[in-house]
């Protein structure tokens, strides 16, 4: 069946079997391999994407459900120059990346949180990451990176207000 949606700010129209998941459509039909399959049952968050700005497990979303909606994958998270944005830079700076397989999901989880608040406590950051499993990092440097980005963005916001 034909599905029309916005993927990383570009309109997409694609024919896929009706029963497949959003994850499968992204990876197997659109060649968007940033989202990973870690469990297929909504437990690990490796397949995380933003659907209309909200963090979802794309392995739990059926492809037709995104009709007319906006999907952002890690490929859509970039600075204007196409390089890493501030959050991605902080992931690098704070040593938040090891094997990297969970990182697309973690960055998106971070973005989803920062879209809600720029003043999260570390506890709130940890809470926002509970749907994203990481077996390598113990989460601490990921929390550091998100915390630092929140601070930078909130400072920027204040400067802009002035």
């Amino acid at each position: 069946m034909k599905i029309n949606f916005t993927l990383n700010h570009q309109p997409v129209s694609i024919d896929v079997p009706a029963g497949i998941t959003l994850l499968r459509m992204l990876r197997d039909y659109l060649g968007v391999t940033g989202p990973k399959e870690g469990c297929g049952v909504g437990e690990c968050g490796a397949c995380s994407v933003l659907l209309d700005g909200l963090l979802v497990d794309s392995c739990l979303v059926l492809a037709p459900q995104v009709e007319g909606r906006e999907v952002v994958t890690i490929e859509g998270i970039r600075a204007p120059d196409g390089g890493p944005n501030d959050l991605q830079k902080n992931f690098i700076k704070y040593g938040a990346v090891q094997c990297g397989i969970c990182i697309p999901g973690m960055v998106l989880a971070g973005e989803a949180l920062l879209a809600r608040t720029l003043h999260p406590s570390r506890e709130e950051i940890r809470d926002a990451l509970t749907g994203n499993l990481c077996r390598c990092t113990g989460y601490q440097q990921i929390v550091d990176a998100i915390e630092a980005t929140a601070l930078e963005r909130s400072r920027l916001q204040e400067q802009q207000k002035v």
Binding site: C44, A46, I101
Partner: protein
């Protein structure tokens, strides 16, 4: 200590950018034109004879292009080290649920699944062996291979350490404890499942991309089971999405399966596992039954230790003989004894199969001995840290194995650091006096020693190549894989340090058997020390050539040269750029490509006498966990955590901290949540909905400190970090729980039931999740 430009400085990981952008390509991210999808038919019973196997019906399924069995391999695909007991696809028998029997390649994943369902298979079930305490009974079902030496076929190995006469010394002890502990199988739970992609070459060979640890082992197995000339087999390691010891054997036979299918079809073939398939088919940390007798005198001197453990190797030997050996070396803990007797026996069973997992036998052994040490401190009425400080290994001591520790022994400092940082004395007193209540707090400690690198397991050396390209970039290789911990960054730092160039100039390649040189397995936390020394030697060899060119260009002797940034400066203050020196070197006809090798110091170990020098150095550490236990529901929350590690010089701090945080998190999972339970050979948790690993809310803020005792053989004085970071975590948490609730939990994990009831609820196992998991997408 000398100052370095890069070593020990805040550095960005060399592979972080592609990972945060999501552009890093893991095996499962490869979609090649015409690529086929492979799937394995896996055993749904724990032990059986293969009576009938007809794969031809699979070929009738639309889209199926090829199907293979063990008959498609040389000697039925028999491989394995140190025991050659495994098959690429099952031969005559299956010995665990999940064992691959045949493999299909098809145009789609759906067709591949239909293909394996179409295969005609008749299995004759054999009695299963599930209780390792009865593995060596005369009438136990035979799981291990036939053997000619008269030993029980289920007996795999026995690793001893002997010092003095334990019975004699125990008789003289004022306090003797006799304690039993168990640890369960543990799943690695790398977030990237297993996968391999084989591409046939026009010459009749294969190029295999595989998510594994040791590229040259993979290549060696491929050429052996496929009967190919070594020049026709190439293994390339793409980014690996976590491993922790878990991406050895299973990934080697997966790569052999896709390679055979690629050769048969002439098409690229990829197999990637679903999570269920990964959990069911993959090897685990061995389960262990451990028995410790400990003797001490009233004044708090430890005197004797006996440790008799049994490790469950499961269906195949895999790495268990080595795991059990490492376990035996560490089973008495980092203490002095008058007498010591360790015997770790490993046995076959039909409980999946066990292999390498972070800590490699010490994780299990340390859990037992560090609780036992705590129990002894309690029995003597001593503070657990005081008791450890009184008895722990120090510089100049002789270990129970008969090795004199001549350098880099930082355990005392580690214990003192965590004591102070955690405010141990105050909290220990306060929590010991807390009023009865449902919410209880406790604080616990564990100490660690962990032999660095392979030790007496094998020849320990590594080689790196280094070359300057025409565009002046420096290309560096290693035969060791960075599956997450950061060794590629460590190597880049080392090469930059030795050559005095910016790190950005250096391209540190991932392993490829056509470009890198065999450096042994990527295991045992040996990358920094062994691989790092090889890089350092390679870079030094290259620097010598470059210095020669610079001195020629600046018309001076090499020792008159000095460096300002990348530039070379001669005695007349004349400055020449790095690039100019490289160009001049080329003009001089100098070869700008070289290599460096490092061979670890010799060690010797008497495997029967149980004495010698098992490792050339040890990592030491101490951890403190502070917990809160809700005794009504049995829930334990780790509130705070302190870790001090003597890892020698730290080369890549962000990476080293990351190892500690990640290691502690895995240890907390092992302590409180994780149990890969086999019921009659069937794994009971086959995905993350039932096999729980720690989330961001289960892991506390961890305060890590490095005690950098210089180790003369390590690069810049470095030892290691990856495995030791995990090992002491579980006993530290369990000791804290005991402090909180006044009762010992001696069987992992300390889940809700064990905390509330003191024992695990007996649940009836079921084969259902395995059976469904093996036959769904």
């Amino acid at each position: 200590m000398s100052t370095y430009q890069f070593v020990g400085k805040s550095i960005e990981r060399v592979d972080a950018l592609e990972k945060v952008l999501g552009t890093a390509k893991y095996v499962g991210d490869y979609y090649l034109p015409g690529m086929l999808y492979a799937r394995a038919l896996r055993s749904e019973v724990p032990h059986a004879r293969i009576v009938e196997l007809d794969v031809s019906p699979a070929l009738q399924v639309p889209g199926v292009k090829a199907v293979i069995t063990c008959d498609d391999f040389v000697d039925h695909g028999n491989f394995g080290f140190p025991v050659k007991d495994q098959y690429v696809l099952a031969y005559q028998k299956v010995r665990y649920v999940g064992e691959a029997i045949a493999a299909v390649a098809a145009e789609t994943e759906e067709a591949a699944l239909e293909g394996i369902k179409a295969i005609h298979l008749v299995l004759e079930p054999l009695p299963g062996l599930f209780d390792i305490d009865h593995a060596l009974d005369p009438n136990a079902p035979q799981v291990g291979p036939d053997r000619a030496d008269g030993k029980h076929p289920n007996f795999l190995d026995m690793s001893p350490v002997y010092k003095g006469n334990v019975d004699e010394v125990l008789k003289q002890c004022d306090v003797v404890l006799d304690l039993k502990y168990t640890t369960p199988h543990q799943e690695h739970a790398y977030i990237e499942t297993e996968g391999a992609l084989a591409i046939p070459t026009p010459e009749g060979g294969v190029v295999v991309y595989v998510s594994c640890q040791s590229p040259f082992i993979d290549k060696g197995i491929l050429q052996m089971v496929l009967g190919l000339d070594p020049a026709r087999v190439r293994t390339i390691i793409p980014p690996v999405g976590g491993s922790f010891g878990g991406k050895d054997d299973l990934n080697y036979y997966t790569s052999a399966q896709v390679a055979a299918l690629a050769l048969k079809t002439g098409k690229p073939v990829r197999m990637t596992f679903s999570r269920e398939e990964s959990m069911i088919a993959s090897y685990k940390r061995d389960a262990a039954h451990m028995h410790i007798q400990l003797g001490a005198s009233h004044d708090g001197v430890l005197r004797a230790c006996r440790a008799k453990h049994t490790f469950d190797s499961g269906a195949y030997a895999s790495q268990t003989p080595f795991t059990a050996w490492r376990g035996s070396i560490h089973a008495m803990g980092a203490y002095r004894y008058d007498a010591c007797e360790v015997e770790i026996t490993s046995v076959y069973s039909n409980n999946g199969f066990s292999g390498a997992f972070r800590g490699f036998g010490n994780t299990e052994a340390c859990f037992a001995i560090e609780q036992a040490i705590d129990e002894m401190a309690d029995a003597l009425g001593m503070d657990p840290i005081d008791f450890r400080l009184k008895n722990c290994l120090r510089l100049g001591d002789e270990t129970p194995h008969g090795q004199i520790l001549t350098q880099s022994v930082g355990l005392t400092e580690c214990l003192q650091i965590v004591r102070k940082a955690s405010d141990w004395d105050r909290k220990r007193t306060e929590y010991s006096r807390q009023a009865a209540g449902d919410i209880r707090r406790g604080i616990g400690v564990a100490a660690l020693f962990h032999g660095t690198s392979l030790g007496a397991e094998g020849i320990d050396s590594a080689t790196s190549t280094i070359e300057i390209e025409n565009d002046h970039t420096i290309v560096l290789t290693s035969g060791l894989t960075d599956y997450g911990p950061g060794s590629r960054t460590v190597y880049t730092i080392i090469a930059a340090e030795e050559l005095g160039v910016n790190m950005k100039r250096i391209i540190m390649l991932r392993p490829d058997t056509n470009t890198a040189i065999d450096s042994g397995p990527t295991v045992a936390s040996r990358s920094t020390m062994v691989g790092g020394n090889a890089v350092r030697n390679a870079a030094r060899n290259l620097a010598q050539t470059i210095n020669l060119a610079a001195s020629d260009l600046l018309k001076c002797s090499v020792d008159q040269l000095y460096r300002v940034g990348e530039d070379f400066v001669g005695p007349s203050e004349e400055v020449v750029r790095w690039d100019a020196v490289v160009d001049h070197a080329r003009d001089m006809g100098l070869v700008l490509s070289t290599y460096g090798k490092w061979v670890a110091p010799k060690i010797d170990w008497d495997h029967h006498g149980g004495r010698g020098t098992p490792y050339f150095a040890y990592h030491f550490a101490a951890h403190v966990a502070e917990v809160e236990v809700d005794v009504r529901i049995g829930k334990t929350q780790v509130l705070n955590y302190w870790a001090a590690h003597d890892s020698g010089t730290v080369i890549f701090p962000e990476g080293a901290y990351g190892q500690v945080y990640g290691g502690v998190a895995q240890g907390i999972g092992y302590a409180l949540l994780e149990e890969a339970l086999y019921a009659d050979g069937y794994l009971q948790s086959v995905n993350f909905d039932t096999y729980l690993i720690p989330t961001s809310m289960d892991v506390p803020e961890i305060k890590a400190t490095f005690v950098q005792t210089y180790f003369s053989e390590g690069p810049y004085g470095a030892k290691n970090i990856a495995e030791p970071a995990m090992v002491p975590a579980a006993p530290a948490v369990l000791n804290a729980i005991a402090h909180a609730i006044g009762r010992r939990i001696r069987d992992l994990p300390a889940d809700l039931e064990k905390v509330v009831l003191g024992e695990a609820l007996r649940k009836k196992g079921s084969p259902v999740s395995c059976k469904i998991g093996l036959k769904t997408k």
